[in-house]
Symmetry: C2
Subunit: 229 residues, 2 copies
């Protein structure tokens, strides 16, 4: 069929699945293959290494991850970068345009979490837990600006809440108003399950530093969408 000589490495760009000028179809051609969007999600809060990604995406196999990364790279959604010595490792990071995909994740989350099939006890990566906060920030909350730190083992984040904006970056939470040291599932139970802070602390699932009242104000800024039917 193709008049073109077959190349050893198939060009990811000529693989057009849908022949459609529609933006949705185009997005699906870019990132509609299995795993692609989840890889992008894991990169939304900063560069990651190959093995980080593999560990965060339970079930993906190495060859598929390689293929997806290569395709996303060719499409200019992400880049591969060699870290300066002495680290000297390579990481994958989103391009500015890749970062602009975040509204897709927010729209998908807000829609899908309304299903009664959502199971909040399933595991969650630190990145998706943090991104979910941004997606589920109540537009009508009235909390004052504050900073909150999160420690999920080695993964640490600093978030700055200010009005309808929640800025998130990786980093050791040094000077923050409140700091949670926990795992992602417990954070979900606290923030979305409205499980009492004290109960989680008593079970040893969460440690809070900072003002307890401020922490409760923070938690109340977030809300899962209501289930359908």
């Amino acid at each position: 069929m193709k008049s073109q000589i077959e190349t050893t490495k198939p060009d990811p760009l000529e693989n057009r699945w849908y022949n459609d000028a529609c933006g949705t179809a185009l997005a699906l051609e870019f990132a509609g293959e299995r795993w692609s969007l989840l890889i992008m999600r894991e990169l939304m809060l900063g560069p990651r290494r190959f093995s980080d990604l593999r560990a965060s995406l339970p079930g993906i196999s190495a060859n598929i991850l390689t293929m997806r990364l290569e395709r996303l790279r060719v499409l200019d959604i992400l880049r591969r970068r060699q870290l300066d010595p002495p680290a000297n490792v390579q990481v994958y990071e989103l391009t500015p345009w890749g970062h602009e995909a975040e509204p897709i994740f927010q729209a998908m989350s807000r829609w899908a979490l309304r299903s009664p099939l959502h199971d909040p006890t399933l595991p969650l990566t630190p990145v998706s837990a943090m991104l979910s906060l941004r997606a589920m920030l109540r537009p009508d909350h009235s909390a004052p600006p504050m900073t909150a730190g999160f420690r999920f083992g080695r993964d640490m984040f600093i978030s700055e809440l200010s009005g309808s904006n929640l800025h998130i970056r990786r980093g050791k939470p040094d000077v923050v108003d409140i700091e949670f040291d926990t795992d992602t599932t417990s954070l979900v139970r606290l923030v979305y399950g409205k499980q009492p802070l004290e109960a989680l602390e008593r079970q040893g699932l969460l440690t809070l530093k900072g003002d307890r009242a401020v922490a409760k104000v923070f938690v109340d800024c977030f809300e899962l969408p209501a289930h359908v039917s």
Copy 2:
């Protein structure tokens, strides 16, 4: 691996691809298979028949369409409905929750169309053309409220522009301020390519009814996002 006896009809619900509490992963389990989102897109502006869908989704095969429809039905994203006599045909229509997926399409479109790989000359279905108008409505436009009708052969729509809202429904455009009789590609050239109305009319690609000045105001309410880099 599975301790369960295999059923003749595999339950679409037990097919969990990603084991992840993240909303994005859940959305991808619901609608991440090939074609699913495009089927939903085609239903966003009203019920369609099996053969309508098949014709709108060039490349899908009948068995795949059947499988996707069944899965979306079980998930309560769409329903199958028997039209009253004398029509007596069955149609597929989104549930209210299915309709709530529209922000996903908007986010995907706005993101993907910024790629230089977007080819606006590819074919476009009437539904995606109309939906794109809603996605690409400039938030800062200052046009007064107006109604615009669209005829793409048998597919007819009425849109009501009012501030930042563009309501769209199927229907014969009877009492509208302006009416376009054209094909989707020409509409794209007019609205996003900013090709002059008169040029398209001269080529016989478009017929306008109503006030020409109003039509130009309408067209200027829409804008494609700028390409990256």
